[in-house]
């Protein structure tokens, strides 16, 4: 497993790849906020929001199904919204007899459940699109522009830089365990207690390796003049087109949200 396998950035030359990361970041967050503000059961607005994000995926030349599929990852969490199907009061739709109890699904319950799942799916696609078209260093620039503390941005940056190294490290540990018959799949060797202890040893080992690597990195940085201050380039100004895209995007999202709130 190496860099390309784990990195979610998809290189390309589309309009969206070229758009400034600050504009993309702000628009993505605004989009997700608009989705969250759209009330339950405002189906037409959901359809329009979905069309917007699909259109953006098409414009990014990622292939229509790319984000649609990757956004399904959050679906298991929908289980958390399932009970509302039966607990919201309203006209009954169908009943499930489970042992001595009968669960009756209601219309408002179904509306709530479908809305939550749709919202989550649409928002997820926007987030997938952001990371697929923006390199992480550019995301860091976007974070600086919205005033995320510099120390935090520096930690994020360093974490991202060593993420792939340490994931490789973890995979080596697991391969070593598999080779010694302690695999988590299949027979998996001895008792669950023993397996837990072995995994704990691996976690401790990984922590130790990370800690020592961190110290080596600090030594290397100090040797190259690091004095605890993280220096960054000043942010380049946004050109007119980018500003227009930002304003236009925010405006249309605002209109859609108000439409959702007022009409439905």
């Amino acid at each position: 497993m190496h860099f390309h396998f784990l990195d979610t950035y998809r290189p390309g030359e589309s309009v969206l790849h070229a758009l400034d990361s600050r504009v993309k970041f702000i628009l993505t967050v605004a989009f997700i906020l608009a989705v969250a503000l759209t009330p339950t059961g405002a189906w037409p607005v959901y359809v329009l929001l979905l069309a917007l994000v699909v259109a953006a995926v098409v414009a990014a030349e990622l292939g229509v199904t790319y984000a649609l599929k990757r956004a399904l990852v959050a679906l298991p969490f929908a289980l958390a919204a399932l009970p509302s199907l039966f607990t919201l009061p309203g006209t009954g739709l169908f009943s499930l007899p489970i042992g001595p109890w009968t669960l009756t699904a209601t219309q408002p319950g179904l509306q709530r459940l479908l809305s939550v799942m749709l919202k989550s799916w649409i928002s997820m696609q926007a987030a997938v699109l952001l990371t697929a078209t923006t390199q992480f260093p550019d995301l860091l620039v976007a974070m600086r522009s919205i005033r995320v503390p510099r120390l935090l941005v520096a930690i994020f940056g360093l974490m991202w830089r060593y993420l792939f190294v340490l994931v490789d490290e973890a995979i080596r540990l697991m391969r070593a365990r598999d080779a010694r018959s302690g695999s988590p799949t299949g027979r998996g060797g001895r008792t669950a207690w023993w397996r837990a202890r072995v995994t704990g040893g691996m976690a401790g080992n990984l922590f130790l390796r990370g800690y020592e690597r961190g110290e080596r990195i600090y030594a290397a940085m100090a040797a190259r003049g690091y004095d605890g201050e993280v220096r960054t380039f000043p942010l380049p100004p946004l050109d007119t087109v980018q500003v227009l895209v930002l304003i236009g995007g925010l405006f249309s999202l605002g209109v859609l949200t108000l439409l959702g709130i007022w009409v439905w």
């Binding site: 989705v35 979905l50 919204a81 009970p83 987030a127 993420l163 837990a196």
Partner: protein, 331 residues
């Protein structure tokens, strides 16, 4: 998808990372505020007492925790135990650096891998990067004190701290879902609580294993956390962590005993439906010309949406052809 061999822990783990859409805007914003305050204090404390070397160290440790979450072991029947890491971070680094490390882990998971949403990132940071380390730190040092700093106290404390941090974080998730009206409290609290009482066992065992390994190989690292409660400032954190744990232990059964209470608050205060219903009552005859029927409007929206996507696709195809012809000229 990403970690194909580890898909099961990915599923189990995702119960803790709330995706967008599951929390109401109000709840999301409130927890953003709480997280900004928490992380702000952590940054301030980091600037105050950590030396400069801790910045690279914390970045690398964030990557380590992220990688450590991939480690798993088979429990039974296809389920597996795995690590969140808040407890290990809090025990080894102390509460405030642990907050920063876990904040980076949770943020990067959301930003890069869509493990958890962006609007709800504040809530996810609160659960996993603030409540998790604080509770773990508080419980760990309580057990250590009761054990009079004997070696077995480290392991027992590690286990209980890790288990409690998972369960309490899960209860906070359940409360957030209940306040958002996504899931009724009388279902979400017992369900999340029970599931994570089991998941927490895995976390506890791995944490003990890690502490055992470190105490055998690098005992000095176990003394890394500043002060071991001897410092007065950390007493506050210690108490805070304990208080969160106790408050939730008392609050959760209460809340799940009165499910209507939470539902009532959510409905009456109108987190969800006020915006939807109010205009009808204020302007009962307010009808969009031609768009009075939701079904009809959905169809119109579908057509408009398809046109948008189709238009963009045409535009992209056109641009691509132009790009190709221009490169053809250059060649």
């Amino acid at each position: 998808m990403l970690f194909a061999p580890q898909s099961v822990p990915a599923l189990v783990g995702s119960q803790m990372h709330i995706p967008d859409g599951f929390l109401s805007v109000l709840v999301s914003l409130v927890f953003w505020l709480l997280s900004v305050i928490g992380v702000g204090v952590a940054l301030w404390r980091a600037g105050q007492e950590l030396d400069e070397r801790k910045v690279p160290l914390m970045g690398v440790l964030g990557a380590t925790i992220f990688a450590g979450q991939m480690l798993n072991f088979a429990v039974a029947g296809g389920t597996s135990g795995h690590l969140m890491g808040a407890a290990i971070a809090a025990i080894l680094l102390g509460p405030w650096p642990a907050v920063l490390v876990m904040t980076s882990v949770v943020s990067i998971q959301a930003l890069l891998f869509q493990d958890g949403g962006l609007l709800v990132l504040g809530a996810n940071i609160f659960n996993m990067a603030i409540v998790g380390p604080f509770v773990a730190y508080g419980v760990y040092h309580t057990v250590l004190k009761l054990a009079r700093e004997k070696p077995w106290g480290t392991f027992l404390g590690g286990f209980v701290a890790a288990w409690t941090s998972i369960v309490v974080a899960a209860l906070v998730v359940a409360l957030q879902l209940a306040f958002s009206g996504t899931s009724p409290a009388n279902v979400s609290i017992p369900a999340m609580g029970l599931i994570h009482m089991l998941i927490g066992l895995g976390e506890g065992l791995i944490t003990v294993g890690a502490l055992a390994f470190l105490s055998a190989t690098r005992r000095d690292l176990l003394g890394l956390a500043p002060g071991r409660t001897s410092r007065r400032k950390d007493r506050f954190v210690w108490l805070g962590g304990l208080l969160i744990a106790i408050a939730l232990a008392v609050l959760s059964p209460l809340a799940s005993g009165h499910p209507d209470g939470l539902e009532w608050v959510a409905e009456e205060k109108g987190f969800l439906d006020a915006a939807q219903d109010a205009p009808y009552e204020i302007i009962p005859d307010y009808v969009f010309p031609g768009l009075s029927n939701v079904q009809f409007a959905t169809i119109v929206a579908g057509i408009v949406g398809t046109l948008i996507v189709f238009g963009v696709a045409l535009g992209v195809a056109y641009l691509r052809r132009q790009r190709r012809t221009s490169t053809a000229y250059e060649a």
